[in-house]
């Protein structure tokens, strides 16, 4: 329960932050749209166990949260890492074993592709592989025992993302996990404990860092820079000052790049 309250509080905080940013332009003042270079995600998700195995038949639907960090490595291809935590109640102890609750922790690396539909919408898809652990708990009447089921997770994650601003976007993310568990079982139990499937539906916020280096100044922009620089700063409007700031920043980066390449 405490975790759910924490998730709700965090979500509210993120939502208010995002809405405050939503007033910003979704493009920079020059109208350019820089590529995303790095992103950090925070999300909550509903996790639905599925399949004819001890997970699908033994656990009820759960709720959880996660964090992802991703870095663009080449064009729109990205790699990253993620941590997730989900909470489930046991639905059928005859199938899964004599305990009442489980919390699933995943830590995995992923690689994927970020497809830019337009300046507002993105679609991402990635595949990840890593460590998974179910921490199982008995209730008081069962003896309060604790034990773990561990394995490796293969996760396919997609997301549909809407940009609230250049820095913040909101997204929905359906994903599918297949966990290959390392559980030793009695022969009579067959392969019921070999794998477990989860379908997740996440809602989250993505905080983006964008790459301005890739946007070269065009001639007209150079002219604008010179024009703005020639004017008295006190006479510039806020919008013009902002434009000047970005033009100077871009020009400085351009010169640094040129110096490096010499």
């Amino acid at each position: 329960m405490k975790s759910i309250i924490k998730i709700a509080a965090l979500t509210s905080l993120l939502l208010s932050t995002a809405l405050s940013h939503s007033q910003e332009a979704r493009r920079d003042p020059l109208g350019a749209f820089p590529d995303r270079s790095f992103a950090a995600d925070l999300y909550i998700q509903s996790a639905m166990p599925s399949g004819d195995n001890f997970i699908g038949n033994g656990l009820s639907n759960g709720i959880g949260f996660g964090v992802r960090l991703q870095q663009d490595v080449y064009k729109n291809i990205y790699v990253g890492g993620s941590l997730t935590q989900d909470f489930f109640d046991v639905e059928d102890t005859q199938v899964i074993g004599e305990f009442s609750k489980t919390s699933k922790f995943n830590a995995y690396l992923f690689a994927g592709y970020d497809y830019v539909l337009d300046t507002d919408w993105n679609i991402t898809a990635d595949v990840g592989y890593g460590y998974s652990q179910n921490k199982n708990k008995q209730d008081l009447l069962q003896g309060s025992g604790r034990f773990r089921d561990t394995g490796n997770v293969l996760r396919l994650t997609t997301s549909l993302e809407y940009a609230l601003s250049l820095g913040v976007s909101v997204y929905v993310s359906p994903s599918f996990e297949k966990v290959f568990y390392n559980i030793n079982t009695a022969p009579a139990l067959g392969n019921d404990f070999d794998t477990g499937n989860y379908f997740n539906l996440a809602l989250g916020f993505r905080f983006n860092s964008r790459d301005y280096n890739n946007i070269a100044l065009e001639k007209s922009e150079n002219q604008k820079l010179q024009e703005l620089q020639s004017r008295n700063r006190e006479d510039l409007s806020i919008k013009e000052k902002r434009t000047l700031y970005f033009l100077k920043k871009r020009e400085a980066k351009k010169k640094r790049r040129e110096r490096r390449n010499q």
Binding site: F54, T93, Q94, V95, I96, G97, E98, F99, Q138, L141, Q142, G143, S144, G145, R146, F147, R148, D149, T150, Y181, N182, I183, N184, T185, A186, P187, A188, L189, F193
Partner: protein
Amino acid sequence: MHAYGTQPLDQLGIYLQSQPMKKCILLLIAVLLLSCEARLDDDARAFFKTRIVDANGNPLQNADVQVTTFRTREFVRTNQAIPKFTEPDEDFILGQGVTDTNGEVAFTMLFDTTFRYYVTITSQNGDKTVVSAGIESFNDNLTLEIPLITIKDIADVQLDFINTSGTTDVFNVQVNYFALNCNEFFENNAFTIDEDCAFQNEIATQLNRAAGDGAFEFKAYYPSVINLTYTNESGTEFMEEFTINNPTERYEINY
């Protein structure tokens, strides 16, 4: 002035008795107790299977069957040494199920590497029977299969020693039987009386010291066996075995 490390123990003792230190120690104990986790085996699922019949061989239907594991209340250096305040044989439920019309029950179990497991059978009228087994009964494949468990009834047993030879010797008598406080122990596909009962289920006394001291009455599970040993003053030992198959049994032993 003493450096902290060279402070005399009595001074340290006085310091420990101060109120803030007491609170710190109590807090530390509370944290340690709360942080203790009773661990069952990770990454393991076992399987239990048996068939249960009553003393007449009829299948026992709708009986609750629980398999539990043993823990101690003491701290020792094993992963089983978590202090708890329940009865040892009710400590952790590894699995449970209900018998079908044929008296059969099978279920998935959690696993706990320990030396004793308890199968508690609760019939519809509330009677409980406990059968125990060791880890060797899992046969290294996480399967505890007890082919047949017979729920025993309780018999009133009477043993009468009658002096027909006229001897004046005083005999030492020992009677071993399946007492009500004992469990059956499943080992090598057979049942024995739990060795924990070895000192409790026997009558050890002297016979022929006074008139009428040869009559013994007790309750025992049946079907079961009574082992009787009596020794005369010259050290000659006599051994006899009796079976209990009925709700009331009476045997006469002539000496």
